[in-house]
């Protein structure tokens, strides 16, 4: 496996249009997605409307993130010093391989063969569970939705609701089939009532919480000035992981650092309203190093790069690193709503995934990564929804240009030839007028011959849509003939 393939898990699956093809055949998936995204979209609009200063908060969030990116080196060194002073240990990981190695060695040093995990997209990004399994260590996801995905040997489909693509009956079947293989089995008479499903998960997980010596978490934020690391969640399972085991290992993307503890004021308002449409998330856990006799007695913070400094180097693309993983952009995206998260082939799906993933792995390195910036109609709903004002549509076209430029030279593709041809035609009004006349004649001939079904690449249009027949006379010809110009 090449370096790029381990960078962001699952790249190497089909390109977006091919993956979308499969997702679009799945009617149940589309119904589940439509229901879930529509519900959360409406709730979110109401939650946001409650705040008079929402736009000011968005601006503040965006400005803080701008500052973090400008001085990332300073804040990271400050964070390292603060965490160390509070009794934690800081590790730096350049890529997935290094991060996985550090975690594995730390778990081995404790003699543990199982770990509990919570809230970490970064560890999904680097494929930590698989790396731990290779080392004989079983990792259990404790977020309910992530547990469902893990038990089903599935992939998350959503940042916030990883099992958004599964309904209750499917979840009951997964629990009945899989739980017993990994610990306390689900009761035989399990129904698909939410209360019953939650209870089965609670019993299954409780045993693991009480036994695990090592926990692994992600981080929503880390404050440079105090060394405080924070996780927000809804179920309390994270709180169990963060407080019960003797050793806590946190894997955090370097972009998650905030300058100061006071900045949490902004983000703890922006995040829950944007993600779960709640005024406040039920559990906010903040910890600073270690406290003797209280909570984990050993704390390791792994600062993960894995393509982030490369992303930072692109001034037009770096704001993808501002993302606070709220998933608001997924919930409003019409493309995501039809195709689901797995079509994006990365742990980061939806609009933000379409701009973040290609940058983390590098534009021009694979057909898959290169297909992602084109997986959007540029409708702009994501920009309006983003709590830190990431201009995703603008970044998509920026990355499209990088993809096109990466493939210039050599034998041009049909699209490149068409674009160059169009440029020549549009280069002069005279050439355009000639092309329009030829198009009108050709188009009408095709129309007469039943040209509503065109061959070749045009089939992608005429498969489901009629083509407009070019007008007999263009506007400019009409204008000229009418003696106006």
């Amino acid at each position: 496996m090449s370096r790029d393939e381990v960078n962001v898990v699952w790249l190497g699956s089909p390109t977006f249009p091919k993956a979308a093809h499969d997702a679009l055949q799945d009617d149940q998936l589309r119904r589940n997605l439509k229901h879930a995204t529509t519900t959360i979209r409406d709730k979110r609009l109401r939650a946001v409307a409650e705040l008079d200063d929402w736009e000011t908060l968005r601006l503040a969030g965006s400005q803080i993130k701008d500052r973090v990116m400008r001085h990332l080196d300073t804040y990271l060194l400050q964070l390292e010093a603060s965490v160390t002073a509070a009794g934690g240990v800081v590790h730096w990981a350049e890529d997935a391989r290094e991060a996985n190695w550090i975690v594995t060695e730390l778990v081995r040093a404790k003699g543990a063969t199982e770990v509990v995990k919570i809230k970490s997209m970064a560890t999904q990004e680097i494929g930590l569970n698989e790396a731990l399994a290779d080392a004989g260590i079983e990792a259990t996801e404790t977020d309910l939705a992530e547990l469902i995905v893990q038990l089903n040997h599935d992939r998350p489909s959503h940042i916030l609701v990883p099992a958004i693509h599964r309904n209750r009956t499917e979840i009951r079947d997964i629990f009945l089939r899989e739980m017993g293989k990994h610990g306390v089995p689900a009761p035989d008479d399990l129904t698909d009532e939410p209360r019953a499903l939650a209870e089965a998960a609670r019993v299954h997980l409780r045993e693991k919480f009480l036994r695990a010596k090592v926990a692994i978490s992600g981080a929503n934020f880390a404050c440079a000035d105090t060394g405080t690391v924070g996780v927000v969640e809804s179920e309390g399972n994270g709180r169990m992981c963060l407080t019960l085991p003797e050793t806590l290992i946190t894997v955090m993307g370097i972009e998650k650092v905030l300058p100061s503890f006071a900045d949490l004021e902004v983000f703890l308002q922006l995040l829950p309203r944007s993600s779960t449409a709640e005024r406040m998330n039920p559990y906010t856990s903040l910890w600073t190093g270690v406290t003797p006799g209280d909570g984990p007695q050993e704390f390791h913070l792994i600062l993960l790069d894995n393509g982030r400094t490369k992303t930072l180097a692109d001034t037009a693309g770096r704001s993808a690193l501002h993302c606070i993983r709220c998933s608001a952009c997924l919930n409003v995206c019409p493309v995501y709503e039809r195709t689901g998260g797995r079509s994006y082939g990365s742990v980061y799906p939806g609009p933000i995934g379409a701009v973040l993933t290609p940058q983390l792995v590098g534009v021009g390195t694979s057909d898959h990564a290169d297909s992602l910036p084109f997986a959007s109609t540029l409708c702009g709903a994501c920009y309006d929804a983003c709590p830190v004002r990431i201009d995703i549509p603008e970044m998509l076209v920026h990355l499209r240009a990088k993809v096109v430029d990466a493939h210039r030279g050599g034998v041009p593709k049909p699209e490149a030839l068409a674009m160059k041809g169009a440029k020549v035609v549009f280069g002069s009004p005279r050439r355009l007028a000639v092309a329009e006349r030829l198009g009108a004649i050709g188009g009408r001939i095709a129309g007469i011959g039943g040209g509503r079904w065109l061959p070749g690449p045009a089939k992608k249009w005429t498969g489901a849509r009629d083509v407009p027949v070019p007008a007999r006379e263009s506007f400019r010809t009409w204008w000229r003939k009418a003696g106006r110009g």
Partner: protein, 227 residues
């Protein structure tokens, strides 16, 4: 006020009636309009598909063609949005989408139109989110005599056109189109109206294929209609 028409390349070749309708409305309101013959294309298709070098070469020509006008009026929300956001030229700030120009610049909502049909309106994404035209097209439509304006469910959802997206990701595009068509048919409208022929070409192409009997019309054509 010197007003120039920016009729967008695809309107010029495929939908010349829209340009004629814009001309008719503005002349009915007592304005003289010009069509600078040197105009070709704003470069949006190139820009949005990643061919930025090719797009850039069209910006200077656009600026030359439209220099000296107080207002440059276009019936394409998406081309208008592209020029205003991405052309860093002296003419870019003077570009107005048709409904914006009528409401904001001319201060008119009733243009003396008559269209006695059941109509539903689709707010195209670039008009809505790039230009922020808001309810201006609806205010213009509400003032049309005889019209029965019905609300489109999930109006602000993208129709799935997205320029070259409609070809590159045609299956996803068509899935979005199907939902849009379903919502259009729920309204029982005879006419679907929008401020962008590119989206209408996509939705109309779909509605035509299923022989829905729903007609797609650009806002300007409804506003140009009289008794």
């Amino acid at each position: 006020m010197r007003i120039a028409l920016f009729i967008a390349c695809y309107n010029d070749a495929l939908f010349p009636d829209t340009g004629k309708a814009v001309t008719a409305v503005l002349e009915r309101l007592g304005h003289t309009v010009e069509f600078p013959m040197a105009q070709t294309c704003c470069g949006q298709m190139h820009y949005n598909t990643g061919y930025r070098r090719e797009a850039d070469s069209l910006v200077g020509a656009f600026n030359d063609a439209f220099r000296g006008y107080d207002a440059i009026v276009t019936p394409s929300g998406s081309c208008g949005g592209h020029v205003r956001h991405h052309h860093k030229t002296e003419t870019a700030p003077n570009v107005y989408e048709f409904s914006e120009f009528l409401v904001d610049v001319l201060g008119v909502t009733d243009v003396g139109a008559y269209y006695p049909h059941r109509v539903t309106y689709h707010p195209t994404c670039h008009s809505l989110r790039m230009l922020r035209v808001g309810d201006k097209p609806l205010r213009l439509l509400r003032a049309v005599e005889g019209i029965e304006l019905v609300e489109l469910p999930e109006a602000e959802s993208c129709c799935g056109f997205g320029g070259t997206f409609a070809m590159k990701n045609s299956e996803t595009s068509v899935a979005m189109l199907q939902d849009k068509m379903g919502n259009v048919r729920k309204t029982g409208a005879q006419t679907l109206c929008a401020s962008d022929n590119s989206c209408l070409m996509h939705i109309g192409g779909g509605l035509g294929r299923i022989k829905s009997g729903v007609r797609t019309l650009h806002l300007a054509e409804i506003l140009a209609a009289t008794r």
